[in-house]
Every structure is written in structure tokens, then in C-alpha cells.
């Protein structure tokens, strides 16, 4: 049974779009569901996706076998394409974009991307050197104005990078900026000829839209003082600098209120994902429980405290080896989600369940879940405690994801 025929028999559907990107001045309209390309499940040779308690739709892999013409088309046009995967009941189970791709046609192997390495809005931060005096004097660290490449933005969306340069003059900094922009405005493409030959194939490395929170820079120098943690997450999502492609919005998010007070002022040129990780790491203020952050269907952001109840069970002795709900509804492997408690119910039989789930050795908090077609499922448990959140609130530590 091929993966393609398995998906076709099951009714799992993978849809592909080419995003449409419209640039008007500094405004960018990035529509992932731009031009519909079609479905590709019939051509699959491998598929997997990974969901995370932090991140939601994290990443995935699609391998296709197709005609030489189709593979060439993927090589030429595939980077950045929008991908959605639906289960047989027509619920979405993954959404992302092609972050990079690699493949082979006979003796030619090729790779393109990563998309996120593109830089088409560039500035340089450097230490200004005054060479008009002898000896030259090191000045302050300054930042150049940013330079954009509109053609690249129309092709790929906006990806802002700040190049951390050495000491130089202002003119040199602008030269470095423009050179860097010119070098990085298009995706890397590698080609090699190898001795062997292969049927035309391509592997698409998918990334969830969480990774687009690396495409911009978040600075907020208008207001000082403090705000609540949850409001700051909303501010980041709504900021045009942090999200230059306007893919996220607090109006398309479920942000649980979190009263921890955090500084509003930001001027360190951080990418928003780093800031959000640091905010999520602080947990919630009452019991210092972990909080979860994810990007899901239609780029919807969900921020919430981790669950305190068991939502999945599994038995070592189960013939089907299914993950089930506590009501024993079978969950198909492609439907299993991360960020939930799973209990192994035929392990340590007779043990009384603890109120604090983390103390029960039968409990597993699903940090990451990887589905591999046709029915493979890897469940990665995470350590759950309250101490790291307390440390993060005090300004040390952070979340790893």
C-alpha cells in the first residue's frame, strides 16, 4: 500500500495554494490561500507532521513522486506554497507553507530555500567609526535605515533582517546593507549531479505559520510602563513591524487573560517569536502553571493555560494501539494533538489517581506529537513543573520549543 493510495482510500486530502502577495507602498497583503493549485495526496510517497504544545502546527514533510515536468514545476514554483491537510471527516489537521524543498530528477539533485533565510528588508547595526581623525575613533552603535527589495517582497513576502556588522563608516554600512540585501533577496538554490539516477521526486519541508513570527522585528518605543502579559502578546500580533505580512491579528486569536505585568517598552530588535517564547515561559500567575501557545487553522493563535484533565488514554495491551478519549472513542493517529494529558490505563493498575497529574507516573503530557503516514504516531512527553515559570517571571529562564 503506497502512502498515496492510503490517503486516497482514507480520504485524507492535501490542498495546495500559491499565496498572492500584493505590495502597495509599505503595506503588504499576503494571502496564503491565493491561487488554488490542487490536491496532491495521490502522488505522495511519504507524509508526516508534528504538532507542539508550544507552536501548534510546527512542521511537516511531504515527499512526492511525479513526472519530470511536475517535479520541475515544484522546484520552480513550490517554495512558499500554502499547504492544508484535512482528515477524512474534513477537519483540518495541519496547515503550513513550504519552507524549503529538495529532490532529484535522474542524476540531478537540487534544493531550494529555506524561505525564512530570505532577507528583503534589511538594515545594518554597526559601530560607527570616525576615520577623519587619527587614530580613528570608535563611536556609538547605530542602525542604518532599512532598504527593501520590492520584487522579492512580491515574490516571497516580507522578511526583515538586521545584519550585525563590525565597526565601519556610515557609507560602508550602507554598502554592506545593500550587498547583503542583494545576496539574500532570493532563496538559495543548490544543484548537484550525482552518479546514481532517481525517479523524479521531491521532498517538501513544511513549516507551520508560527515560523512567520520570525519574519519581522518588534520594537515598541511609543509607550513605557507595564501591561499585562496577554495584552502584550496581542500587541505583538497586531504590530506591523512584528508581522510585516499581516498574517496574524489579535482578532483572530484566543488569548487567555494573563495578569502578569510586563514591560511594554521594547527596542532590542527582537524577532516576535523570541519575545513570545519569553512571555509564554512565564506561565500563569496563580499557580505558576505552564501556558501553551500555538498557531492553528487559518493562522489562528491560541494562548492558554495547560489543561488539568486527562484528554487521552492509551493501553499498552490494546490491539489497535489507538489513542482514545477517556470515553474510549478511537482517535485516528493523524487527529492526535499535542498539549494534552495522556494516561496509560493498563500500567500500574490499581494506583489511585493523583489530583496533580504530573505526580502520577501513568500520566504523560504530550509536548510534541508526530504523525507519520500511514498510521505511525510518536508521542513525545514533556516535563511539567511550576518552577521554570516562576523563574521566568523573575526574569531568568525561558521556554524551549
Amino acid at each position: 500500500m503506497t502512502i498515496g493510495s492510503f490517503f486516497a482510500d482514507q480520504g485524507i486530502v492535501i490542498k495546495v495554494w500559491k499565496p498572492t502577495i500584493v505590495v502597495a507602498g509599505s503595506n503588504v497583503t499576503y494571502t496564503p490561500q491565493g491561487e488554488y493549485i490542487g490536491t496532491i495526496q495521490d502522488k505522495l510517497s511519504a507524509y508526516s507532521h508534528t504538532l507542539g504544545a508550544f507552536g501548534g502546527y510546527l512542521n511537516g514533510t511531504i515527499s512526492l513522486t511525479d513526472t519530470k515536468e511536475e517535479i520541475q514545476e515544484w522546484l520552480s514554483e513550490g517554495l512558499g506554497r500554502h499547504i492544508e491537510v484535512f482528515n477524512p471527516a474534513k477537519d483540518q489537521i495541519f496547515e503550513g507553507f513550504v519552507g524549503s524543498l529538495n529532490g532529484a530528477i535522474e542524476t540531478l539533485t537540487f534544493a531550494r530555500g529555506p524561505l525564512l533565510d530570505i532577507a528583503n528588508r534589511v538594515s545594518v547595526i554597526y559601530q560607527l567609526i570616525n576615520r577623519t581623525v587619527n587614530p580613528p575613533i570608535d563611536g556609538m552603535r547605530v542602525v542604518t535605515a532599512s532598504a527593501d527589495d520590492n520584487t522579492s517582497k512580491i515574490d516571497w513576502g516580507v522578511f526583515e533582517k538586521i545584519y550585525n556588522g563590525p565597526g565601519m563608516s556610515a557609507i560602508e554600512a550602507l554598502q554592506v546593507r545593500d550587498k547583503f540585501l542583494n545576496e539574500k533577496k532570493n532563496p538559495e538554490t543548490d544543484r548537484n549531479f550525482t552518479g546514481g539516477s532517481a525517479d523524479p521526486n521531491i521532498t517538501l519541508s513544511l513549516l507551520g505559520y508560527l515560523h512567520f513570527l520570525k519574519a519581522g522585528i518588534y520594537n515598541q518605543t511609543t509607550n513605557s510602563g507595564t501591561t499585562t502579559l496577554s495584552v502584550k502578546i496581542e500587541d505583538i500580533l497586531d504590530d506591523g513591524g512584528a508581522d510585516p505580512n499581516a498574517l496574524f491579528a489579535s482578532t483572530n486569536a484566543d488569548i487567555e487573560a494573563n495578569a502578569i505585568l510586563v514591560q511594554r517598552y521594547e527596542n532590542d530588535n527582537n524577532v516576535p517569536l523570541s519575545l513570545i517564547k519569553a512571555l509564554v515561559a512565564q506561565g500563569e500567575p496563580v499557580n505558576d502553571e505552564r501556558t501553551l501557545f500555538g498557531v492553528f487553522e487559518n493562522r489562528k493563535v491560541v494562548y492558554e493555560t495547560m489543561p488539568q484533565t486527562v484528554e487521552y488514554i492509551k493501553r499498552l495491551s490494546d490491539e489497535r494501539q489507538s489513542v482514545m478519549t477517556p470515553g474510549e472513542e478511537w482517535i485516528e493517529p493523524w487527529d492526535v494533538e499535542a498539549g494534552k494529558w495522556l494516561k496509560i490505563t493498563d500500567f500500574l493498575i490499581g494506583e489511585t489517581e493523583t489530583v496533580d497529574l504530573r505526580l502520577d507516573p501513568r500520566m504523560m503530557f504530550l509536548e510534541q506529537v508526530k504523525y507519520t503516514a500511514p498510521r505511525g504516531l510518536e508521542l513525545q512527553g514533556g516535563k511539567v513543573s511550576t518552577f521554570p515559570q516562576r523563574l521566568a517571571q523573575l526574569g531568568t529562564g525561558g521556554t524551549s520549543a
Binding site: D9, Q10, D91, E319, Q321, G327, E329
Partner: protein, 667 residues
């Protein structure tokens, strides 16, 4: 090999034929292979042997041992070349875009009634035998023995691309009469986009102000207007609202015998003060700009949207929802139409029935469903997304995906109870005329509707569904009200699980908005055996900001566990409207058994492709089944909501190509 003269074994593309049973090719041996299952197995710790958790049928690899003989070496070579060319064509059918003609095997054993067909996928023949060996020299006869391996698809009842008509029916027994269309292959079986119990109770003809008797159940044919109509003569169609499970209706289906000859007619409804023009899509109206009903003989329908001002009125002593067709101008030589063959009825069911004998074979048949839009055109009752779900009847004859959120017009085993901020109210613009109104739901999740399936009905609802809700947010801002769906087993304390999505209205003041809850199991367990008795219930829960209201019409549970297809106009270019039919085709083009074509009804010409979010369409073999339909207007992506007008209706044609593991015999 005992191949009798009635036996048949050929390879053909429909034009060229290689006969494997008659010279110069003779079959020496063939042990037919059976399709093998490709299984995925799982095994638990100390759970005994492994079990299959998935399987599919693989292609069949048959080996034919053939013998070619003859005295003309050139002729033998030509035959062999023709054979090879056919087999290469078979491979090219799958491997190239341009080759459109399939190549298949036809087989029928001696004394077997039916031929079976298998679509060739590939072939393998490793060697010829020595053309210079004996008896080449001795007998002056050329002989070539060789093994031919052919990989082919399942055995079919028809050659690839062909199919048999499957008779479908749509009927309803109500108030002592049976309405609808019995099983047929004609385009006369209608489906609604709702499920009502209410059906027509009365038809009166008004002849110059004098009403005739009720024509429901009258001897056929009967006159739908006076034999010689005069101005302002009329025929009234109504549902008596003093009858239980009654309400408004949005369509009428006629079978016209004698066609009408009138100068101008007009459909009208009562708005509380006067009979006013009712906008309709009247398929009984022939060509021409002037409204003139009953001009077209045979089965045709009339459709309208429930008017917002439609109210009940007493006609000939019967109070109910009424529409009438009035003769505005009779004209010279006017002739009244007649209804023949069956009662006039309203389309109130969203499914077609398929009897067990209609689909034969050893396992699921390849299917083709053609849905003709009947309601669009003059009124805005088109759509661009059609969801079709298959469910075997043995799982529950009383199952319906449509649960009306009202205190009427559901199966008797279903109880709908509003609570908290929810209460029943009247709204003529809903399928039943009743709805649940949520008034200012507050900022805490609370159950607003409970749907209980009693212990008799609950087993019929067991399964997996994709759940949708129709309604309208009437005040506040879009997004002020969130809704979620919970499936619960047993009574109020039983285990429960939420459907995947929390939903909200993307718009305020637009009716028929459809919300998608995602998949849900009823009950939320796979742990009940057939004999286990338990209630099931669904809770609709609401969360609001205390300043927004909404109306909820019906909950739609499309079955997903046998087969479901979701077909949509992904580029939003061609609406499935009155001129169009959606051809969900798993039969006619074996290269792509998941295609969905929008065709012009008049010519059959393909106008657009709908995206098929589906596996190959199938029908179950040897079991009675129903195809259920849910029809949506999928608005452009920038519009944050979709609608589903319940007045949309279509008609259904069904085809199948049965599949077999081996010989057909006479079945």
C-alpha cells in the same frame, strides 16, 4: 483448458480485439488471481495476535499462458504486434496525459451468464519462444508459447468508463398519503436542503370564486385549474397548521398531463393583508418572458424563498400556510392543466433511497451521482458547495442528518429542549417556521439547547459525523456569540466530548449562515456493542458578551464513516445554478475517479471543475442505503461566513459500476 464456444476472454480497447480463446491465440492455462488485501496491522502487549486496522484492495496480477500457432508466420507476427500495441496502450493510458482510451480484459466462463471487465494497468512478458525450433521445420507450423502477466484493476460489471443506472427514490408517508417519486432512473427524484415532516395537506381549485374539494389523494388525473380557466381562477396549495408537525414550505412538484394554455399566471402568497407576488423559479413555465405556469408536460417543480411576511390564512375554511397560482389573464382558447400519475408534493427530504438490489457485486461499487439544480435561476437559490454522505439503511431507517432546532418536525425519538438564554420562537424564514432564539448569552459557557436521542433512536445515530449549524446573529457585533457542540452519552452525567471547533457568526443580520463545528462522534465512544442500550445527547453551548442575540435553525450531522464527498467551487467562478448540474463521477474517467464536473444541463458540456474533497465515490453493495445532501453557498474567502439556503433543491441521477473479486455468474 475447457473453453467452450460461449466462453469469452478478450483484450480490447473497444475497437481492436485480441481473442485469447480463438486462433491464432489460444489460452493454455490461467489460474485467475484474486485481489489481495493490503493490510496495516497492530498488536498490543500481551493482546494475542495482531489485527488489521486498515486495509485496501491491491491490483490483481494474472498470468496467462498463451499459445499462438498458425501456418502464416507474418500473420502470427502481426497478431503478436497488435497484442503488444494494445498492452502498451493500456500502460500509456495511465502513464501519459494524452492517451484517453482504456484497454481492458473481458471474461466470461462457459455457462456463465455475465461478462466481467477489468481495466489493464500494466503487463509483463519476458520472452518469446524460439521461432526456429521444432515444429517450425517439421510441421511447417509456427508456434509461440509464452507467459503474459497482466496487472489489472478490480473486475467490473461494465467496461471501464461505463456504468449501470441505479434507480433512486424519494418518498414520504404522511397523513395517510405517500408523496414523492418511487424508484426510477428518470430525472424525477428531488432532494431538499432541509428535512421537514410537514407536507401538503390541501389543494383547492377556485373556479370563479367557488372552491372545489381537497385534491390531495384525489383520483388521477385531476384538473389543477378549471378546464377553461378564466381571469382570477386559481389553484391553492397549503399546509394546515392545525395539524401537528406542520409549517411553511418552499417547493411544489407537479406531473403535468394536459399542459395549460393561458396568457399570464402569477404565483402569490398571503402577507396578512393581501395576496402578493411570490418570486419563484417555476420549471413548469415554458420559454417566454411572461409568467405562465404548467406549460411544460411531465415532472417539474416550482421553488421560492419563504417570504418574510408570509403568514397563515384561512382558505376554504382551512387555516395554514398557502400559496396560490392565479390566472392573471386567461386569454383566448385557454385550457386548464391536469396533474397525472401522483399527488403534487413539496420537497422536504434531503436524501435519495437506493434499494439493496440496485447495487450488486462483491464489495463497494464505483458510483456516479449527478445533482441537477432545480431551484436557482429566477430566485437566488444556487450554491457552490455540495456535501454528500452515504449511510446504509440497516444502521437506522429513522436517522436523518437534519435535526430541526424546534419543538416540532423531528423524529419522535428526538427531544429538543432550549435552556438558559435559549427559547423557542417563531420565524417563518426557517425550515420549520420555528427556531431557538438565544437572548444575550453571557460570558460563561452554558448549555442553551439539549438534543436527546431516546434509547430506541440512539443506536440509529451511532457513528461519526461532520456537524454544521444554520442560523443568524441578529444583534450585537460579529463574533459576540460563540457556540460549541458537545456529544454526551447516557444522561446528563455521562461522559462528553466537544466537537473540534468553537464557532461564531461572521456577520450580523444575514440569515442562513452556516457554522462548521467539525467532526463529532455520537455517542463519544467506540465502546458500545450493538445490543448496548443508552441514550445519546448533544448539547449546544453558548458564550457571549451579554449584548448579542441569535437564532438557530437546525443542526446538520453529515455522516462521514461510510463515504463522504465535499465538492466546492474553489475558484468561485461557476455557481451550481438552474442551468447546471454537478457530476460527481467515479465511473466515466477511470484515470481520475474523484472528479466533479459542472455541466450545462442543456448540452452536457463541461463548464467548470469543482474541487473534490473526497475519496472515490462509492455505493455499498447489496444493501439498502441513502445518499444525504447538504448544500452550501461558499462565499469568497474574504467573506468571513458562508450561507446555506434551506430552500435550495435539486434532483438526483445515480449510476454504478459493480465490482467483483472473481466470476460474476448471473449476478
Amino acid at each position: 483448458m475447457n473453453a467452450g464456444r460461449w466462453a469469452r476472454l478478450i483484450v480490447t480497447d473497444g475497437t481492436d480485439i485480441i481473442d485469447l480463446l480463438n486462433p491464432p491465440v489460444c489460452l493454455k492455462d490461467w489460474e485467475p488471481a484474486i485481489a489481495q488485501k493490503q493490510e496495516i496491522r497492530q498488536q498490543g502487549f500481551q493482546s494475542g495476535g495482531s489485527i488489521p486496522v486498515d486495509f485496501s484492495w491491491d491490483n490483481i496480477n494474472d498470468t496467462f499462458t498463451l499459445n499462438m500457432k498458425g501456418r502464416d508466420g507474418d500473420a502470427l507476427a502481426r497478431t503478436l504486434q497488435d497484442f503488444h500495441r494494445l498492452l502498451i496502450k493500456a500502460v500509456e493510458y495511465w502513464s501519459t496525459k494524452q492517451q484517453k482510451e482504456p484497454v481492458w480484459i473481458e471474461a466470461r466462463a462457459q455457462h456463465e451468464t455475465n461478462v466481467r471487465y477489468a481495466h489493464i494497468v500494466s503487463f509483463q512478458t519476458e520472452k518469446d519462444n524460439n521461432p526456429f525450433a521444432q515444429p517450425y521445420f517439421a510441421a511447417k507450423s509456427y508456434r509461440r508459447n509464452f507467459d503474459l502477466g497482466i496487472e489489472h484493476k478490480d473486475w467490473l460489471a461494465n467496461f471501464p468508463g461505463d456504468s449501470d443506472c441505479v434507480q433512486v427514490s424519494g418518498t414520504q408517508a404522511w397523513e395517510g398519503s405517500t408523496f414523492g417519486r418511487t424508484a426510477t432512473c428518470l430525472d424525477e427524484v428531488y432532494v431538499a436542503n432541509k428535512h421537514n415532516v410537514a407536507q401538503l395537506t390541501h389543494i383547492f381549485v377556485d373556479d370563479g370564486g367557488v372552491f372545489g374539494g381537497n385534491l390531495i389523494g384525489a383520483a388521477l388525473p385531476f384538473n389543477l385549474l378549471p378546464a377553461v380557466p378564466a381571469n382570477n381562477d386559481a389553484v391553492y396549495f397549503g399546509i394546515d397548521t392545525t395539524v401537528g408537525d406542520s409549517g411553511p414550505f418552499c417547493s411544489l412538484v407537479f406531473d403535468i398531463g394536459t399542459v395549460a394554455v393561458t396568457a399570464q399566471t402569477q404565483w402569490e402568497s398571503w402577507n396578512g393583508a393581501a395576496w402578493v407576488l411570490l418570486g419563484t423559479q417555476d420549471n413548469t413555465d415554458g420559454a417566454g418572458g411572461i409568467s405562465d405556469a404548467f406549460e411544460v408536460a411531465g415532472v417539474n417543480s416550482v421553488h421560492w424563498e419563504h417570504p418574510a411576511a408570509w403568514v397563515t390564512v384561512a382558505v376554504n375554511g382551512v387555516t395554514g400556510y398557502w400559496v396560490r397560482l392565479r390566472v392573471v389573464v386567461a386569454g383566448g382558447g385557454a385550457v386548464g392543466p391536469t396533474q397525472q400519475n401522483r399527488d403534487v408534493y413539496s420537497i422536504v427530504w434531503p436524501h435519495v433511497d437506493i434499494a439493496a438490489a440496485q447495487v450488486i457485486g462483491d464489495f463497494e461499487a464505483l458510483a456516479r451521482t449527478v445533482i441537477v439544480n432545480q431551484s436557482g435561476g429566477s430566485v437566488s437559490l444556487g450554491a457552490n458547495r455540495i456535501i454528500v454522505g452515504l449511510r446504509s439503511l440497516w444502521r437506522g431507517a429513522n436517522f436523518s442528518p437534519y435535526i430541526n432546532l424546534s419543538d416540532e418536525q423531528n423524529n419522535g425519538g428526538i427531544t429538543v429542549t432550549p435552556s438558559g438564554t435559549g427559547a423557542f420562537s417563531n420565524n417563518v424564514e426557517t425550515p420549520t417556521g420555528r427556531q431557538v432564539t438565544l437572548t444575550n448569552p453571557g460570558a460563561a459557557w452554558a448549555t442553551v439547547i439539549t438534543i436527546v436521542f431516546d434509547t430506541t433512536l440512539a443506536p440509529q445515530y451511532r457513528g461519526k459525523f461532520h456537524a454544521y449549524l444554520r442560523g443568524e446573529q441578529t444583534s450585537g457585533a460579529a463574533g459576540d456569540i460563540e457556540l460549541r457542540l458537545r456529544s454526551r452519552m447516557g444522561n446528563v452525567t455521562g461522559y462528553s466530548r466537544l466537537a473540534k471547533k468553537v464557532v461564531s457568526f461572521g456577520v450580523v443580520g444575514t440569515d442562513d449562515v452556516v457554522l462548521d463545528f467539525g467532526a463529532i462522534n455520537i455517542p463519544p465512544t467506540d465502546n458500545l456493542a450493538d445490543g448496548d442500550i443508552a441514550e445519546s445527547r448533544l448539547n449546544i453551548e453558548a458564550f457571549g458578551d451579554g449584548v448579542a442575540d441569535c437564532n438557530l435553525y437546525d443542526l446538520i450531522l453529515m455522516p462521514v464513516d461510510e463515504w463522504i464527498g465535499d465538492y466546492s467551487d474553489i475558484d468561485h467562478l461557476t455557481t451550481w445554478d438552474n442551468d447546471f448540474e454537478l457530476d460527481i463521477d467515479g465511473v466515466a474517467y477511470p484515470k481520475n475517479t474523484k472528479r466533479a464536473l459542472i455541466r450545462l444541463v442543456a448540452t452536457g458540456a463541461v463548464n467548470d471543475i469543482y474541487e473534490a474533497n473526497a475519496t472515490t465515490p462509492i455505493l455499498q453493495a447489496n444493501t439498502a442505503q441513502r445518499l444525504w445532501f447538504f448544500i452550501i453557498r461558499d462565499l469568497v474567502p474574504a467573506t468571513p461566513y458562508d450561507t446555506s439556503e434551506f430552500e435550495v433543491a435539486g434532483s438526483v441521477l445515480e449510476y454504478a459500476n459493480a465490482r467483483y473479486l472473481s466470476a460474476r455468474g448471473d449476478r
